[in-house]
Each structure stands twice: as C-alpha cells, then as structure tokens.
C-alpha cells in the first residue's frame, strides 16, 4: 500500500488513535482521565507533565488537528505534511479537496498519492497546454481509489478518451458535479457519464473537442442523470446542439447557460417551453437566438434570472414577451452590444410587469428617460442597478433614478454621459444607497466624489477620474453575476459584434475581419473564422460547412 499505514480505532473526538510508526507509546484511554504518557525513549524516562516542552499537538485528537488544517491553504497544508508522521497522516486523511497537476508522468505516483489522500471527495485534474496530460489508465486508477468522489473537474486532459471516461463513470457513481474544459473525449464518454452517475446535479462543458467531428455528432443524453440534473452549462462548443436531448430530457433543470456555442438555439427553447418546466435561470451569451427563442422562454413561468448578452437577434418584441409572462423575474442583465435592437419598448414592458425585479444591468443599450422613469417608478424592489456604455443616459436620467429608486442599494454607472451634477443628486436621493461606483464617465470629476462622501458618510463612493482607457479584450463574461464584472464595457470596441451586414449599426467601429478574433480566436484557425462568419451571415446554421 505505501509507507503510511494507519490503524483506525472507531470513535468520536473522545478517543485518540495513533499509527505504530511513532516514537512514543500511549495508553489510549477515555477522555475523562488525564492521558498517561509513557515514553519509550531513553532520554525522557520520567512522565512529563502535559503541555510542557513537548509536542503540543500530541494529545490533540486527530479530528481536532484535522479541523485546524482545514483553516489552512493548500500550500500551508503541504508544509504541515512534512512536520511529522502524525501530521502527514492526519493531513492526508482530512483532505477532502485535492487539485493535481494532471500530467502523464503522474501515473506511477497515483497509488501513493491516493493512499495518503484517502478521503478525497472533490478532485481537480488540471494539465497545462505544453504538457502531455494523464491518460485513460491514470484516470481509471484514480477513479478506483476515489470511488466516493462527489465533484470532478478536468482541465486540459487531452489524452483522456471515451474509454477512460466510461471507466471513471462506472467507478464513481456518486458524482454530483462534473466540469470539463479543453478535453478531447466525445459523445460516448459523455453518455457513459450520464448513464452511470445517476445523482449528477451539475454539468459544465467547455470546448469539448471530441464532439466536433462533422455536423452530425452523436446525441448526448438524456441518460440516468436526466432526472437529477439541475444545472447545465455549455461553453464554446461547435456541436452544442448534440446536447439537446439531455437539456430537453432533464425535467428538473433549473439553470441553463449557453455561452458562445454555435448553431441556432431557438428550436431548443421552443421544445423546452412547450412542456412543463422548472427553469429558473437562463444565461445566453453570443448565441444565435432570436425573438422566437425569447417567445419560447416566456413559457418558463418560474424564470427568475435572465442574462441576454450580445444576442443581436433579440429585439424589444422578445423582451416584451418574456416580461409579460415571467412574473417572477428578479435579475435581468442585457448587453445590447450597441445594436439598438432592445431599448425603451422592452424596458417599459419590464417596468410594467417585473415588480419583483431586484437587479438590473444594462450594457450597450440606449434607453431614454421614458423607460428609466418607468423602471424607477414601478420596480420598487430594485436594489442593484448598473448602466454601462449608453449614449442616452445623462444627468436627467440619473437624477430620476436618485429621486425614485427607493430600495436601491448599489449603483454602477460606467461610460455614460453623466456629469458631476447628476452624481450630486445622490447626496439626498436613494435613501438606502450603500455603494455608488462611477467609472469612465469623462465629465465626472474626482471632486464630486469627495463632495458626496462629505454629505453622506455611510455611502461608499468609488470613482475613477474620468480617463477613458481601452479595456483589455475579455472573451469571457461573468457568470456569477457580480455587478462590477457584468459591465463588460467596450467604449472603444476592440471586440466587435459579429452580425449580419444589414444590422451593422451606425457606430463607426464595426469591421469584419477583426471582429471574429477574440471569440473565434479561441477556437483557433482562420478557416474556422471564415466559415463561421458565413454561417452567421446566412442566418441559420448552414450545416454544409464542415468545421
């Protein structure tokens, strides 16, 4: 097995147990007596009094020592593992989370590693791009050692194939969360996972290369996990559509996130919306979905959270449909990508219908005071508001927010035409305001921040001086929805919308060839870029392109 053998006595914190590999012998006794210490070393032949010049942790029950280790980082735990044999043992046995460098060279070390860390329930296997990753044999061996695994995360494990995944799935049937990124296995491996791990609750798949062969990839799902799955997240997949049977078959699905996946997704939502569902959270980002899809989404009566990020085929009509039928909506993020397809009409419908709205993030939209006034007046529970990259939001609109948003706690204004005067209105407006953040608004000076702080001491004011920087290209959007991160603001757009020629707005920065780079660059290859651009401009997935 390894040199770290252990003998376990059962029992709770009242008992101590020890390995035979120690220098001292102890009488294991009930906690109601003092521990008697008989030292077998020649140096210390007298019974020492407890806690004097000796290992402080000696008499501490293993569970207590383990709980101390739990307060430490992975790096600190490694130092602890080298302190002495007992610490090594306790540290290893109390490790429930482990992250390993998943290179191919790990195979011979797997038995020793998992003898030492024998209680791992959450495992991450991560391989960098330059190295050869662990293979099927290693993954199988790991799965045999960690059969009670609850969470697994694979990153860059390019040498794991369908065979390895199937073996893993058969051995780790209690898995609840699975996440993979930049792996190469395919539908067979994914289906094996879904057929064996019948308690799977969360599935996250990013860039799975093995499902890219041609346009007719094998369907994935539903599998035994369909009834337990609560959350599915798909990112940057060519053939994400092959997950459709799984998504549709997961009748208890609550969260669905589709980010930068090719294909036309309207039909999927039409199917979901056509039967009873429990979907409460939908994130759509850089996805081909239109008002037809939004119409279908409006048939998710339990919808509470909706993110529409850079979906240029969605217009006011779709937003109105969702607003009218999804009465439980409490968080809405819309990034209109400055295409001006969503504006006052959609937002007025939100104002009129979403009385439960607590969080609203509007990026790259141009609402006027009409809709802002409506929202400020009607959404009386609104606590968090972010307005970014808008040409139409200025002092009157901001003052209106100050006057009417009674419940507002946090406000972020970025890249808008507000001036100091608009910000001043927060000295007396929004009685519940706790934090205000103003960034990249060229007419707002640092003076107003001090002025505001002086008048309202409990308000946290975060203001940058008004310089306009070009934000670095960030291909990934926030998923957690932290207010600050949601503002993926492009003032001078270095990432450009990829849209049909007819829809190119009058902003001057739209071009074609550089547009695809940030996103499609992730897929790699210029041929891909050209194909995909054509695909987008044809409207629907022209599947005769082979990618």
């Amino acid at each position: 097995m390894g040199q770290y053998s252990s003998t376990h006595c059962g029992g709770g914190p009242k008992h101590r147990h020890r390995t035979p590999l120690t220098n001292h012998q102890y009488i294991i006794s009930n906690n109601s007596d003092f521990f008697s210490l008989i030292n077998s070393d020649d140096d210390e032949s007298t019974v020492p009094s407890v806690f004097e010049n000796r290992d402080y942790t000696d008499d501490l029950p293993d569970e207590c020592l383990a709980l101390i280790f739990q307060c430490l980082s992975s790096g600190d735990r490694k130092k602890c593992s080298l302190v002495c044999r007992r610490w090594l043992l306790v540290e290893g046995q109390s490790r429930h989370r482990l992250a390993l460098n998943a290179k191919v060279e790990i195979l011979p070390h797997v038995p020793a590693i998992f003898s030492r860390f024998d209680s791992v329930t959450k495992l991450a296997l991560r391989c960098d791009r330059k190295s050869v990753s662990l293979n099927d044999e290693a993954l199988t061996l790991i799965s045999l050692r960690c059969s009670s695994l609850i969470r697994l995360k694979l990153r860059g494990c390019r040498d794991v194939t369908d065979v390895g995944m199937a073996a893993f799935a058969r051995n780790c049937k209690s898995l609840k969360k699975f996440s993979c990124g930049s792996c190469m296995f395919g539908a067979k491996g994914m289906n094996a996972l879904l057929d064996n791990c019948s308690s799977l609750e969360e599935l996250s798949v990013k860039r799975l290369r093995g499902i890219n062969d041609g346009f007719a990839a094998d369907p994935i799902g539903p599998g035994a996990a369909a009834s337990s799955l609560k959350s599915i997240c798909l990112k940057e997949l060519y053939n994400g559509q092959c997950f459709a049977p799984l998504i549709i078959g997961s009748k208890n699905l609550k969260t669905l996130k589709l980010l930068r996946c090719l294909g036309d997704w309207d039909r999927l939502f039409e199917t979901i919306g056509s039967s009873e569902n429990h979907v409460a959270e939908i994130h759509l980002e850089r996805l081909q979905v239109s008002d037809a899809g939004l119409n279908a989404i409006s048939n998710c009566p339990k919808l509470e959270i909706l993110h529409l990020v850079k979906t240029p085929e969605c217009t006011d009509a779709g937003v109105v449909a969702v607003a009218r039928k999804c009465k439980l909506l409490r968080k809405l993020h819309i990034d209109g990508w400055r295409t001006n397809r969503i504006g006052d009409d959609g937002l007025v419908a939100i104002a009129e219908n979403s009385s439960n709205l607590k969080e609203l993030v509007l990026i790259g939209l141009n609402p006027t005071s009409t809709s802002l006034l409506a929202i400020a007046s009607n959404c009386q529970k609104l606590e968090r508001l972010a307005l970014c990259g808008s040409d139409t939001i200025g002092d009157p609109e901001v003052s209106c927010i100050a006057t009417k948003c009674m419940a507002l706690k946090k406000l972020c204004i970025k890249g808008c035409e507000v001036t100091d005067e608009g910000i001043e209105s927060f000295a007396w407006g929004c009685p519940n305001l706790v934090k205000i953040k103003v960034k990249k608004c060229k007419h707002v000076t640092g003076d107003v921040a001090d002025w505001l702080r002086a008048r309202r001491r409990s308000l946290a004011v975060n203001l940058d001086g008004g310089e306009v920087d070009i934000e670095p290209v960030d291909g990934s959007a926030s998923e957690g929805g932290a207010l600050e991160e949601a503002a993926e603001f492009q003032h001078t757009a270095t990432t450009l919308p990829v849209i049909r020629a007819a829809d190119i707005p009058s902003t001057s920065n739209v071009g074609r060839s550089s547009a695809a780079k940030p996103w499609f660059g992730l897929f790699g290859g210029r041929g891909l870029v050209a194909c995909t651009l054509r695909r987008w401009s044809n409207g629907n997935g022209d599947s005769s392109e082979s990618l």
């Binding site: 402080y56 942790t57 501490l60 602890c80």
Partner: protein, 153 residues
Amino acid sequence: MITLQSSDKDVFEIEQSILIQSGTIKNMVEDDFTFIPLPSVDTETLIKIIEYMKKHADKTDSKEKNIKEFDKDFMKKTLNELFALVFAANYLHISSLLELLYPSIADRIKDKITEAIRQIFSIRCDFTPEEERRIIMDNKWAHEGTEIEGTLD
C-alpha cells in the same frame, strides 16, 4: 446552580443557563446532576471557559459587537493556553469556542516553513531524509495556492 470541580479540586458555582452552552454539561444536567467533576480540565483553563460561556450566554443584538471584541481578545493567548482550551472545549462540546480556536491556532501555522512550525509546536521530526524527499515529491503533484481550490465549487 451547578457546581463544577476542576482537576485541581477547585469548585465553581455557575447558573445552569450559562453552562448549557456546553453540550456535555447540558446532558449531565438533563440527567439531574448538579455536581459535575471535570478531571481533565485544570482550574486555570476552567476559569477561562467559564469566562467565555458567561460572555456568550447573553446574545442580544446590542451585545454582538462587544462579543466580537471579546472573542478577539480572548484568542490572544499562548499556544499552551490555546491547546488547553481546545481540549477542554472539545471535551465539553462547546462548538462555538472550538470554531474560534481552530483558526487562531491555524494562524500560527500560516505562511511558515516546516521547521518553524515544528519549533512552534515543539514537534520532533520523525521522518528519515528519504521519507522527507518522497513526501516533497508527492506534494509537487498537488497544486499550490487557492485558485484551484476556489474554482472547485
């Protein structure tokens, strides 16, 4: 009123309402014991335990800030004292006190090298050089830092 007796045979009379924060004492009280000997808790430690329980017995809103201040000061003790408290709190099943003690002891381990940790806790290294090398090698497979840990959730 309940009487507690330390290992040094000192006795303390405390209200039941304060002492039931200790799961162990609570059980004994429910079994109608009014005199509880604690042979594994010395007087010095018992005094501290009682001090802690008294402060935490009255958990009204207005006192929350005071309690937090008290807890912070309470942890400013020698390692010797902290361990004695861990033993006592563990035996007496006072989970709130343990939840304070573990991070406080962990703070003494944070960011230190292995040898420093050994010195602080007066632990003798019982590895052979070969074993140490082996562990260091195994450790290399596990990621440093929290960025992986954090994203496991």
